[in-house]
Amino acid sequence: MKDPKNFRFTRKHISRRRVLQTTAAAAGGFAVAQLGFPAIVRAASDTIRIGHITPRSGFLGTLGDYGFRGVNLAVEELNAAGGILGREVDLFTEDSVGSAVAPTKAQKLIERRKVHFLVGEISSGSAGGVMATANRLKTLYMQSGANSDALRGEKCNPYTFHVEACNTMYTKTIGNWQDRSGNVKGKKFYMLTADYAFGHDLARVSTRFLTERGGTVMANELIATGTPDYSPYILKIRDAKPDFVYINLAGGDQTTFLKQYKEFGLTFRVSGGVMDTAGFWGAGLDSITGYWQSLWYHKMPTESSAVFAKAFRDKYKKPPENQAWGDYTAVKIMAAAMNEAKSTDPAKIIPLLESGMTFDIMKPRLGSFRKWDHSLLQEMFIVKVKDRDQMEDKWDIFEIVEATPGADESLEAIQPTMEENPCNMG
């Protein structure tokens, strides 16, 4: 045996208790590691500083990565065009991790990095905390990915503007389409809902919409995020025999469900309160079908959309997802508002954004913020999963069927009403 001195086991140190202790410590270490480290793209004292905060790990990590790329591209383009107010733009990014950590990260960006505004988020739970922090520290926040109505309603505040559409908008978009197609009245829906703020809110507004139009919600299963096996729910769906399986799931959970639903070969149609293109890309072409609602799509037939999609694809070798659109658009809107206001002062920018100022949001119609709840008035789209032989590549999964509201309708038509989602800015 070679050099036994160098190959001595110190087994006496490894007690069962020690193993449990060290494993627990390591689990804590992993949690700390998940807090992530801030990425500083550039830094100088006379620059415009943007704080980007979004989940970069966990079941929303895939979407967060698109947001991160979108915001980076926006900053790169702004700097190439002379910055904001003639000043270079610095970007500071943080992984928001979850609702317990996100407010602290937001506070750090505001107090230590002295950012002029925050942008980002996807989780409704985290976004609520970031909004409260931004309000307390009187900092503008462009909320670009969280859907919960409550963020625009009971939790609304003057410093937050919402580029992302809310749950009611997603629900009304697909619901109106399905209703017109005769797929709501008298139909039975089996809901699978993400068990956190976003899912609860979406289930509430979806149930309200479907039942008001004569549909029946047979069951609403609350499912933990990151669930690896959907078979218990799929078996229950099989026995319940619904007309539609209605998913209120987000991010990677959409992917996992769609894959396993396909695996079991059930034929009940699948619809849902929300659709993430990334979730559908991840599920694979043979697991997706039907009509869905979408906030944006990389094949949107507008010039600015094509320019953005090409720039994103050139830089990242894949097309932008809706979340990339959201974070990119949020930064571009704030840049336009600052340039217009010739100031970074929230006291000047808030009234400007509330005044109905319009922005090219890469959709056929221009967008503007609704004054009383700061929700972006914008179109959404009904998309249809393409037949496989019509797809140009693996990203080309949808065909845009129609914009909603229609060209002759008010953009308010899909927004929650003041009665449905009252907001008091205080």
Binding site: F7, A224, P232, G252, E263, A278
Partner: protein, 288 residues
């Protein structure tokens, strides 16, 4: 009927858990390494399955992926972990934790943060229908692979001279050394087998759960719980605990979904109160 189906479905999740936890358990039992990077090898197995499938098809990928991961495991064991055996075990723990974090970021850099689409291979698609009863062919294949892996491992450990040395090493590695047996290659082989099992689990899960950078991190906690639950160093304890946890989570989801994720932790607390060494944990002098 639904309960029976769910028990069978629970065995599927139990299969991933069991293969992962068996790998963790044998690496710990012989080398004393708490391998926090085990989830990274699981993820690597899944990524390799996706990449190789594109070139050579699923069958080749399913075989090659664990072999490549096993070889990589040996290289890491020889170059890094071996140097840490004589030192405080906390060092191997820190090293493997760093490896896990680095691997996840490497996957993110190489493949992006998005879930890679990967479907069940066509020849394993479809379901078995017996009246109302449905079970997918792919799940059946996973159960067959898991059963074969468990049987193969048991034969290796109990019916070969390698297994004899290994079991002796688990009991008292110093004595094995004193008998003139070189333990180094045994440790390397065990590490390769352990991470190879994780890669098999990763390859099997790719079609059902998607492939993304954090997938290893997400499943590793459950694998540790199963090791503790089954009993550190106990082969059948880990198998029993892995399958039982899979079934428990599935059945809980069927009748009381909010408790599904927490059920295994509740079970662990209960078992540790009444059986501190786990379900089938043996009394090792060096572990007391």
């Amino acid at each position: 009927m639904m309960l029976l189906e769910q028990i069978l479905n629970g065995l599927l999740v139990g299969s991933y858990y069991t293969l992962l936890a068996l790998g963790l358990s044998i690496i710990f039992s012989l080398g004393g390494v708490v391998n926090l990077a085990h989830g990274a090898f699981y993820a690597l197995g899944a990524y390799l399955t996706v990449v190789i499938t594109e070139k050579l098809g699923f069958s080749a990928a399913f075989v090659l992926s664990p072999v490549i991961v096993g070889i990589l495991g040996v290289i890491i064991e020889i170059l890094c972990i071996r140097k840490l055996y004589p030192k405080d075990p906390t060092l191997t723990l820190l090293f493997t934790m760093g490896l896990a974090i680095s691997a996840e970021q490497a996957f993110r850099l190489m493949f992006g943060a998005s879930t890679l689409p990967f479907s069940i291979p066509e020849f394993l698609g479809g379901q078995i229908h017996i009246g109302q009863f449905i079970y997918s062919n792919y799940r059946l294949a996973i159960l067959a692979v898991t059963t074969t892996a468990i049987a193969g491992l048991w034969l290796l450990f109990n019916k070969t001279s390698f297994g004899l040395i290994l079991r002796a090493g688990v009991s008292d590695v110093e004595m094995v050394r004193a008998m003139g047996i070189n333990v180094k290659p045994i440790l390397s082989t065990v590490f390769a087998i352990g991470v190879g099992l994780a890669a098999i689990a990763g390859g099997m899960s790719a079609s059902l759960m998607g492939v993304h950078p954090a997938m290893g991190n997400e499943i590793i906690t459950a694998a540790f719980v199963i090791c503790v639950l089954g009993g550190l160093g106990s082969f059948w304890g880990v198998v029993l605990a892995g399958m039982f946890v899979g079934v428990l989570k599935g059945v809980t989801a069927l009748y009381f979904p909010p408790a599904a994720e927490g059920s295994m932790y509740a079970l662990m607390v209960l078992v540790l109160i009444f059986k501190p060494r786990g379900l089938l944990g043996q009394k090792f002098a060096r572990l007391e």
